[in-house]
Subunit: 222 residues, 2 copies
Amino acid sequence: MSSRPLAQPRATAQPFVGCPMKNPSSLEELIESLRCLPGVGPKSAQRMAFHLLQRDHAGAARLGQALGRSLERIKHCERCNTFTEEDVCELCRSPRRDARLLCVVETPADMLMMEQAECFQGLYFVLMGRLSPLDGVGPKDIHLDRLIKRAEDGVVREVIVATNFTMEGEATAHYIAELLLARDIKVSRIARGLPVGGELEHVDSGTLAQAVIERRSLQAAP
Amino acid sequence: MSSRPLAQPRATAQPFVGCPMKNPSSLEELIESLRCLPGVGPKSAQRMAFHLLQRDHAGAARLGQALGRSLERIKHCERCNTFTEEDVCELCRSPRRDARLLCVVETPADMLMMEQAECFQGLYFVLMGRLSPLDGVGPKDIHLDRLIKRAEDGVVREVIVATNFTMEGEATAHYIAELLLARDIKVSRIARGLPVGGELEHVDSGTLAQAVIERRSLQAAP
């Protein structure tokens, strides 16, 4: 509909005389640094940066401060290895927890999920990862030396391995079990099976097969 | 497989004696403040915070600094309204751009896309949004008063409206066109139709219908 021809499209290989355009450097740096967040690619980083600068200066300032404060204050608990601001975290210090039970989880998020399920009153050990030889994550990186020392403190009676039921989580569980069994420490693994409320019709066949293999025998009510 | 009963699950309503567990406060604050990013819910915010604290202290520090620096330096170009560190952005200052053409886009990201397409040598006006009465975004919020002043500078010969072909983008284009046409300024809208390389079989019917309605007449080669 324009009555005057605009510049030719690139395909014609005609030299283009416009100046190359860039974002201002502090904006480019913000976009680039947002990409350190997991799952954030160049497009979302740009969208995030534009959003903060256009609509949420207060949020951006708060995030900047929170990053600084966390880096300064957060460290790992000496006992369970989770994130804490103290030497030993609140949960490990609690006199109400049962120190005879030690639950091994991959991440602090898993520990929170366990606590929310309100099914466990013992203490934790957080691996902060899982064995992953392909990514160069070995036993040292997930602090298995510390886990063993922790499990051999003379109080722990059972180690419950609650790593994920992924390939890597299972391999990690297997490795931990071997280490602990070799030291005569009782080890258990959380159960695999259908979820509560789960229907056979909608569960994947791998889960169903495991639920059959790991079936429990029932007893008549007394 | 455990030989000793653990705590009963929540469903039994038996009082649970564990202590309620929380993340340390600076970690909670970091998770909460990450939620100001668009598309980041509580779960991803937690994953991001754990990732930064566990694996990328350098990235977190860099992001914190970039946020501060951007907030301090980035402002809007006095002419085109895009993000810049100067009063007037580099593109608006360039003597190589054709000041008779003014392209209206919704966001700086759209402006970058236009530049990457290398199809336009004029100048821009960035609305920093679109009309959206339901969200309370009116003509003032997208700086239409400034756009009109800009289009009436005596140099601009044509305003090309390149807002999105969404409901809101189309309504914005319509509103802008009416404002400018009432002031005898020539207005055009970028074309709608099949994408380059597009196949009729795979395009949505709305696009195909528009491509038929907005068909161009062809002329015999001379």
